[in-house]
């Protein structure tokens, strides 16, 4: 057992930090720090920078353009990005579609998609959830029929992040009714401009637009858009789940919150916050910092411990805790900012001069409630915390 970062790991982290200092546009970082949902075009310069550096697809096999990093290096990279307010780049394309194509896709599909994804030319959305298949993906109904060289899809997808700006959807659809429900699913790539694809925005609590419903009506796509074997969709979804053990732990984001809180509190004190109130806030902050430390080390253990039988339970644990701690961290900011966070604020208020901020809202306020509400989703999407607790029990204790 070796509980220190190696010199190599430390050097790597410093390299990442240097790169971030050089290549991340400060205006983009500032925008990301506020927490409003960024558009594809906002993120593009950062995507380009990562691509040029060769760091755009850390999770892919090296011969498909991956970095060859060890899990610990990927973690250090993501943490440093989080702290430096670097936005996530094209998460679905790079973390889901890419790896699935690398593992299961035909050469032709890889040829068509991998390089454009790396370059940032193709943006993807994920079509898994349906109104009646939320936590229970095996209940996916989206129908398919095979017609000549085409697959024709009919279905209704929901909670589809970025469907309104994506070029393609990676869609989980039913290709068979034989056997257990999960055995009749396939992954299919659908161009979002195909006839019959209709996107309806879903307004979310946080006030941003990022999720959508997608209706598929007789959408025909070429047979070669089916990824891997027919009816292997469940296995592919499981594959994705298994390799993304720690992303949902949000360590980088949590460190971002912790790092900026003392400054925020100082500014509030300077602006007249009662010192006794600040005492209580600082106390909660220190307690939260300890909770985040423990959480981060739980993540490190998942990365580095390759023999533990508790991996699945540990992954669920850090997903639960990641969402809980994010809700706490963002709530603590709201408490420190007090009435400043009351006004509904939009990116337009802060990124343009067209709409001024309300007089009471200082520079720390915009985006805080939006982001705080958004983190509620972290406890829901990708398997609710209730589902995760069930997984923990059945993995560890069920007999």
């Amino acid at each position: 057992m070796e509980l220190d970062f190696t010199a190599q790991e430390q050097a790597f982290e410093e390299e990442v930090q240097r790169f971030l200092a050089d290549a991340l546009p400060p205006s983009l970082a500032a925008k990301e720090a506020q927490g409003f949902h960024l558009h594809r075009r906002d993120v593009a310069p950062w995507h380009q920078a990562l691509w040029r550096k060769g760091w755009i697809a850390p999770g892919w096999p090296q011969h498909f353009g991956g970095t060859g990093w060890l899990p610990m290096e990927r973690f250090l990279f993501e943490r440093a990005c989080g702290v430096a307010n670097a936005p996530e780049v094209s998460l679905i394309a790079l973390s889901m579609v890419g790896p699935v194509l690398c593992e299961f896709g035909s050469d032709a599909l890889r040829e068509r998609f991998l390089e454009p994804i790396r370059r940032g030319d193709l943006w993807f959305c994920q079509g898994f959830s349906e109104p009646e298949a939320g936590s229970d993906l095996a209940a996916v109904r989206c129908r398919t029929r095979f017609e000549g060289d085409s697959i024709v899809l009919n279905g209704h997808k929901i909670w589809t992040t970025d469907a309104h700006i994506a070029d393609y959807m990676i869609c989980l659809a039913r290709t068979s009714d034989v056997g257990r429900p999960r055995e009749g699913l396939s992954m299919i790539l659908i161009p979002m401009d195909a006839p019959g694809v209709r996107v309806r925005p879903i307004a979310t609590l946080d006030g941003d637009h990022h999720i959508n419903e997608v209706f598929l009506e007789d959408v025909a796509v070429p047979l070669e858009n089916l990824v891997g074997e027919v009816n292997s969709g469940w296995a592919q979804a499981r594959y994705l789940l298994g390799r993304e053990r720690t992303h949902n732990a949000y360590v980088g984001m949590l460190r971002r919150y912790l790092a900026r809180f003392p400054g925020l509190l100082q500014r509030q004190l300077a602006a007249g916050l009662d010192a006794r109130v600040a005492d209580g806030l600082l106390r909660d902050h220190v307690q939260l910092s300890l909770d985040v430390e423990a959480h981060e080390w739980s993540v490190l253990r998942l990365l580095a411990d390759e023999e533990s039988s508790q991996l699945r339970a540990g992954a669920s644990a850090v997903k639960i805790r990641g969402s809980e701690l994010l809700m706490k961290a963002s709530e603590l900011e709201l408490m420190a900012l007090g009435s400043q966070v009351i006004p509904a604020m939009t990116p337009a208020m802060t990124h343009t001069t067209a709409q001024p901020l309300p007089a009471g809202a200082g520079a720390d306020a915009p985006g805080r409630v939006t982001q705080s509400l958004y983190w509620r989703a972290a406890a829901i999407f990708g398997g609710t915390n209730e589902i995760q607790r069930g997984i923990i029990y059945s993995t560890l204790f069920h007999r």
Partner: protein
Amino acid sequence: MDFRISDEQRLLRDTARKVLAEATGTSGDDAWMPFRELGWTALPIDEAHDGLGGSLVDLAFLLEELGRARCQVPYLECCVLPAMLLKALASRGVAHAELLGSLARGEQRLGVAVEERSSAESVGAFSTRLAATPSGFRLIGEKLLVVGGAACDGLLVVAVADHETCLVYVPPDAAGVRIRGYSAVDGRELADIEFVDVPVSESAVLARGTAVDEALVEAQAIALTLQCADIVGAMEASMEMTAEYLQQRQQFGQKLASFQALQHGMAVLFIACNEARSMLFRALSALGQADISLRRRAASGCKVKVAACARQVTGMAVQYHGALGMTTEYAVGHYLRRSIVAEQLFGNAHYHLAMCLADHAAVAK
């Protein structure tokens, strides 16, 4: 002690529930209509001033329904709060019968302008000032977060003159009044208001000195408590809506309501709602006490507890709705937003806990 709701209170509650549910989506003057027509504007005011002489408990029942209906009408802030302020002044010998009467009749909605940039809600530390001129005064300063401030008929402004707090009546269309309205996260309307050398006549200075300081504390304790009633209404509705949803929604081939972990979760939410209501009743009781510091402390304690329960209940209600809870199309999330705004308005739980702590330390010494 008797917690049985009276027939009048039941009528008030049932009417309000029905009317406010029907009025969902109306705004501006239309939304105020039922408040005038059903006598709700008269409720906080005594009969001598055309009011109905309702009790704080009556008001709490009504406010609960506002919370439940997610009503955006600034009834608390533009009718109840100014009424309580004027009544508190009247009980200190400073009568303004005409204003109370016009509030009661629903002729005026009065914005109360207290909070300032960085005032951190500490009483008596206002920078808005009233300067003497040969012909009277002028008002200089800026007030923030005036709920309903952009659509009111008059402003009650707290300012300082000669080291004394005073309460000034200012028409919103007076020269030098600059109102910038905006929406809160939950849709309620607020305004920041700048006063640039606004001329103020002697008669518009409604009161001065300790009377104002005390009346502010007194009225704010009431407003804080009634705000908690609103939150209690919102969280109970949010809980009921969630229980309903769990009965409907199927996952893994069964109703969500059949999962014991969720059942026990709902029990925890009930406990939170129940305790919030209990704390509300306690504060309403304490508001009847003679000692003003007891009243203030009870209101602070009420906010601490109710806000914490609301955070838990409205948050878990969203959680139990799953992704649906995240959408604005479904009502449950609006309760969460309402409780976030309510938490930060009139001082959040951290602020009021610090107040309780300070009182406690003072008492202990």
